[in-house]
Amino acid sequence: MNIVNILEEIEKVDGEIYERLSPRRNAMKDFYNIGKKISLAALPLAMGSMFQKAYGQTNPSTVNDVLGFALALEYLEWNYYNHALTLANATYIPDGAPRAAITTIRNHERAHVDLLKGALGITGADGYVYADFDFTASGGFADVDTNYQTFLKVALAFEDTGVRAYKGQAPILKGNAVLTTALQIHSVEARHASHLRQMVAANVTGASGLKPWIAYAANGNDTGIAAVNAVYDGEQNTTQAGIQITGINGTSVSQSQAAECFDEFLTGAAVKNIANLFIKAGKKLT
C-alpha cells in the first residue's frame, strides 16, 4: 500500500494530473510528504477531497444555467439564419439546395429554441431578437448580409462553435436525463457543421479543400479564416486521455486524422467571448 505508487498510476493514464493540481502544487507536495504518515482510515477522505478539487467544477453551475446558456446560443443561430432567409436579395442564398439546406438548419435552431424555452418554463417572447445581434461582428464581416461567401463563413463558425459549446457543458449535466437531450442537440449541430463545411468548400474562394471534419492546422483553425481563430483554438490536439492518437499502436493514423477524429470542447468562458462578438452591448453574455 503505497500512496506514491497510486499517484504514479494516475499519472500514467492522466499525464496532466499535476497540471490539474497545479494551483495547489504546494499542497500537493505537502500531501506527498505526509502521505506515508496518513493512516489508511484517513486516506480515502483526504484523497477524495484532493481529487474533487482537481477534477470537479471550480465554477459551480446548475443545469438551468447550462440550458439558459444553450438557449442564448440557439437564439443567435436562429436569428442569423432566419434573417438571411428573409432578406429581400433573392440571389443572396441561391435557390435550390443551398436555400433548402439553410432552411433545414434554421428550422432546427428554432426547434432548439422552443425546446429549451419549454425546458426552462419560458412562455413569453424570445429573450433575444434580431436587433440584439451584430452579425458583422463590429465590421469584421461587414458584408455578411450581401455576400454569400461571408454568410457561409459566419454560419460555419457558429455551427462549429455550437458543437464545441455543448461538449464543454456536458460535464455539468453528467448523469442527468437532460444530458441525453443536450447530446441529441449537439450531434445535430455537428451534422449542420459537416454540411456547412461542404457548402464553404464549394463556394468560398480558397476553401475548396475544407473537409466535413476539422483537419489539423498548427493553430487549430483549418478554415483559413483568421477572424475565427478562437473558434478552433485547441482543435490541433492529437493526444486524448494521455494517449497519442497519431500512429496509435503502429497504425497509419496521420497527424491530421488524429486531430480530426476527436472534436475538442470549448469552455463556457471561451464560447461567451466568441458569441459576444456578435451580440450588442447590454445583451452580451456574462
Binding site: Y55, A111, Q184, P212, T251, E260
Partner: protein
C-alpha cells in the same frame, strides 16, 4: 503494416500487464467510495481486472464505465472493420474525393478503436468477429447505405449511452467522438442525397425527434439488437 500493428499491440498489452495500470475512472470511483480503504488497498496491491474473453464471446458489464467504454469499443471495432474493407477496395464509381474521405473515415474509426483498446487496457473485451455478408462491397449504393446505417447508429448509441458515464473525462471523450461520427453521417447522407445531412424525420426509428430538432438516441440493448446482424461474436450484456 498489419504485422507491425499486432506486434505493437502485443507489446503494449504486455507492458500493461506488467505495470498493471489502474484506470483513472476506477481510481476516482475508489477515491469517492466509502469502501475506498479496501479499494485503495487493492490498488496498492496492484490488483488486476479482466473482462475480455475471446473464446466465450464478449461480455459488456454496464455496472461501471468499463462496460460503457467496452460497448463503444465494440461499435468502433465494427465501424473500423467496415471502413478498412471499403477503403482497401472502394466501389469503382467512387470519386477521387470520396475515396480520400473514406480513407479519412477509416483512420478515424481505427483511431477510435485503438484509443478505447488502450484506455481499457486489461479490461478490454477481445476482438469481435464481424459479418458483412449483407453488404455488397462492389456496389456504391450498398456501401453508402451501410455506412449511413453505421454512422447514424453510432451517433444514436453515443447519445443514448452518455447518461450512463460516471467519469467526467470519459463523458467528454465520448462527446469528442460522437460529433465526429455525426460529421461522418452527414457527409455520407449528403453523398446519397444532398441535403439529407440532418433528415431527423428519417432518423425517428433511432429515437430522433424532428419537431424538436433532436438527433437519435438509443439504449445499448436496442443498438446491439440492430448491430447484431454485423457481428458473429456473441455479445453478452449484463447489469444494463
Amino acid at each position: 503494416m498489419k504485422n507491425n500493428e499486432l506486434i505493437t499491440q502485443d507489446e503494449l498489452q504486455e507492458e500493461r500487464l506488467f505495470n498493471s495500470s489502474l484506470g483513472r475512472r476506477s481510481f476516482l470511483q475508489f477515491a469517492g467510495a466509502s469502501a475506498a480503504g479496501i479499494a485503495l488497498m487493492a490498488a496498492g496491491c496492484r490488483k488486476d481486472r479482466n473482462y475480455g474473453d475471446m473464446n466465450t464471446g464478449a461480455t459488456l458489464d454496464f455496472k461501471d464505465d468499463f462496460g460503457v467504454l467496452n460497448y463503444a469499443y465494440a461499435l468502433e471495432q465494427l465501424e473500423a472493420a467496415f471502413y478498412v474493407k471499403v477503403a482497401s477496395a472502394p466501389p469503382s464509381t467512387f470519386t477521387t474525393a470520396q475515396k480520400a474521405y473514406f480513407q479519412d473515415i477509416q483512420f478515424h474509426e481505427v483511431a477510435h478503436r485503438e484509443f478505447f483498446k488502450n484506455a481499457l487496457g486489461t479490461a478490454a473485451i477481445g476482438s469481435l468477429e464481424v459479418d458483412f455478408s449483407s453488404i455488397d462491397f462492389t456496389s456504391a449504393t450498398s456501401v453508402l447505405g451501410a455506412a449511413m446505417a453505421f454512422e447514424d447508429l453510432g451517433v444514436a448509441a453515443y447519445n443514448g449511452a452518455g447518461v450512463r458515464i460516471k467519469s467526467t473525462d470519459y463523458l467528454v471523450l465520448a462527446g469528442k467522438i460522437v460529433s465526429v461520427e455525426a460529421r461522418h453521417a452527414a457527409y455520407i447522407r449528403d453523398i446519397i442525397s444532398n441535403g439529407t445531412f440532418a433528415d431527423l424525420a428519417s432518423l425517428a426509428p433511432l429515437g430522433a425527434v424532428n419537431a424538436s430538432g433532436l438527433d437519435g438516441a438509443l439504449t445499448p440493448d436496442k443498438v446491439l439488437a440492430i448491430a447484431g446482424k454485423y457481428v458473429k461474436t456473441k455479445i453478452n450484456v449484463i447489469n444494463l
